[in-house]
């Protein structure tokens, strides 16, 4: 087992930059195994524009969006945005928490067009809605499918 030193979260330049921009955006900072996670309170789209647009941040590459269902914990849904800055060789994870009752979040397709299918997949498998998505349809499951299979309360046994 190797010990990974705990990074100095409060003095991280990206964190400082976001705090200087809008002090209330970051709700929580987490670090696990050397990976930095910013739990974002609101204004995801504005933050996305800021992170991708500012030349000294340039998080222009969205690797992935992963949805996690924490049922029965509230807030139930957790979306992890894995960002990459190619020019600065840096990665960052944004996390938003959404309630189990009608989960809606702003779509980031205007900032990162690659989010199109990632968001459709999460809509399909977890039932999270993305406000402002250009084409929010099921992606992997058939169009007439009922339910969202990756939810933790989705039955995995018996006949449907």
């Amino acid at each position: 087992m190797t010990e990974i030193p705990t990074p100095d979260l409060e003095h991280n330049p990206v964190v400082a930059r976001i705090r200087a921009w809008r002090s209330q955006t970051i709700a929580e900072l987490q670090s696990f195994r050397g990976e930095l996670t910013l739990v974002v309170r609101e204004e995801l789209l504005a933050l996305a524009e800021f992170l991708a647009g500012e030349s000294d941040l340039s998080f222009t590459f969205l690797s992935d969006i992963t949805g996690v269902d924490r049922f029965p914990i509230e807030p139930r849904f957790e979306l992890n945005y894995h960002l990459l800055s190619i020019t600065r060789r840096e990665v960052l994870r944004l996390r938003v928490l959404l309630p189990g009752e009608s989960p809606v979040i702003a779509s980031v397709v205007p900032v990162w067009p690659t989010a199109d299918w990632h968001e459709r997949e999460i809509f399909d498998l977890l039932g999270v809605h993305f406000h402002g998505h250009p084409n929010l349809r099921r992606l992997l499951m058939p169009d007439n499918w009922e339910g969202h299979p990756l939810r933790k309360d989705y039955p995995v046994e018996g006949f449907r």
Binding site: F61, S63, D64, W117
Partner: protein
């Protein structure tokens, strides 16, 4: 038929279904093409035909059992998937793998890259009418598959990388086979290049076709050789080295044209670079040494020890019945698969099963570039553009 307004006046368009059962879609992909004559106005990919719920299945398996699922995600590069998953779990556990195992992992994943590129080259060429290249590529791939069988016991679904190291000690004499591959393959690559690189038909079918600008590629999340063909040198092996890649000396081929021909050149050059890495790995791998981390309760003990030590027997039983429980937390591990940035996200809740396992499949993002590539091109170019993206539907649909 519907009537649309074009620059030349009203014109009739036709919607054509390409696939899902179409040989050039490399799996089960349906592309809905809106055509004006033979020109593509709009293309829309329809995926999900191979969706088998791998991520959901993983939630019901222990960390060791889920390795077998990762082979089946990208069935042309099973070892790259094994590696991404194992590295993610090892990161979750804070587990260090012995150097010898790391080098063997590097060697085998680089051979996987060559094998995957050979399938790509062969199928891409046959799609565009060059039949002989296909036959040669599969001849060489067979040698690689035989090597994988010698090492792991399986040709394709290897599951050879395990959490904390490797499944088995590679058999005696396997290095001779690797040596033979290193000796013979460069001449074979020359053979393909003789058939294609200066071939006027090949150039006509690929040059200037499917142009993707660097800005578009980044915006669409394209990675791997498809991104490097557009002039961006992002390669996870160089940017965020894993499994001791920082100790290897190799180049990342980059082209700036952004067309199918540039991506072809990138991949062929990449195969040659992979052989360089294999050569270096061979020199680094010592004949003797551990292939598994010393982590009782996580890594299975050696068979011999189980016969004499009670603790080893107990650990063996516990690992294979209830598994092991990493600490709660989330990790995201990137590796460079033959198709691009392959990510494995694992959320642990402190139980012996992954609470959520997600694969960031490179093909999933790369395929989103298809409508951009084929816009205002001929139907024949759609075939070239699907081939050049090197998609594997298994990892797109998971």
């Amino acid at each position: 038929m519907t009537t649309v307004q074009t620059a030349a006046g009203p014109a009739q368009t036709m919607v054509l279904n390409m696939g899902p059962q179409h040989p050039s879609t490399h799996g089960v992909l349906r592309v809905v093409l809106e055509l004006e004559g033979e020109t593509v106005i709009k293309a829309d990919s329809d995926i999900g035909y191979l969706h088998t719920g791998i991520e959901k299945t993983a939630e019901a398996l222990t960390y060791s059992q889920a390795i077998t699922l990762t082979d089946r995600i990208d069935y042309l590069a099973p070892l790259s998937n094994n590696l991404a998953y194992c590295l993610a779990v090892e990161k979750l556990l804070g587990l260090e793998v012995p150097k010898r195992a790391q080098y063997i992992r590097v060697l085998l994943t680089e051979l996987t890259r060559i094998g995957s590129h050979l399938v790509w080259l062969g199928t891409h060429a046959i799609d565009l009418g060059a039949m002989s290249v296909f036959l040669y590529c599969f001849r060489e791939r067979e040698e690689l598959l035989k090597l994988f069988e010698v090492v792991s016991g399986q040709r394709m679904m290897t599951s050879y990388f395990r959490i904390g190291g490797l499944a088995l000690e590679p058999p005696t004499g396997w290095m001779d086979r690797v040596e033979k591959i290193i000796q013979t393959f460069p001449a074979r690559f020359d053979e393909y290049e003789e058939l294609l690189t200066q071939n006027r038909i090949w150039q006509a079918r690929t040059q200037g076709v499917g142009i993707l600008s660097a800005a578009d590629a980044i915006a669409l999340g394209v990675s791997g050789p498809s991104l490097r063909g557009s002039g961006v040198d992002y390669d996870v092996r160089k940017y965020f080295p894993y499994s001791s890649y920082e100790e290897f000396d190799f180049q990342v081929p980059v082209r700036t044209e952004g067309d199918c021909y540039a991506r072809y050149l990138c991949r062929v050059a990449e195969m040659r670079e992979s052989l360089k890495i294999v050569r270096q790995a061979m020199e680094k791998i010592t004949p003797e040494g551990p292939i598994r981390a010393d982590a009782p309760g996580i890594v299975a003990p050696q068979r011999e020890r189980m016969k004499t030590e009670m603790e080893a027997l107990i650990y063996h039983f516990k690992i294979y019945t209830e598994g092991f429980a990493p600490p709660p937390g989330e990790v995201f591990q990137r590796v460079e698969s033959p198709r691009g940035e392959l990510g494995c996200f694992i959320a642990s809740d402190g139980s012996p099963k992954p609470y959520r396992m997600k694969i960031r499949a490179p093909s999933f993002a790369n395929l989103q570039a298809l409508p951009r590539l084929v816009e205002r091109r001929l139907i024949a170019d759609v075939i070239a553009c699907i081939g050049t993206l090197d998609i594997v539907l298994g990892e797109i649909d998971r």
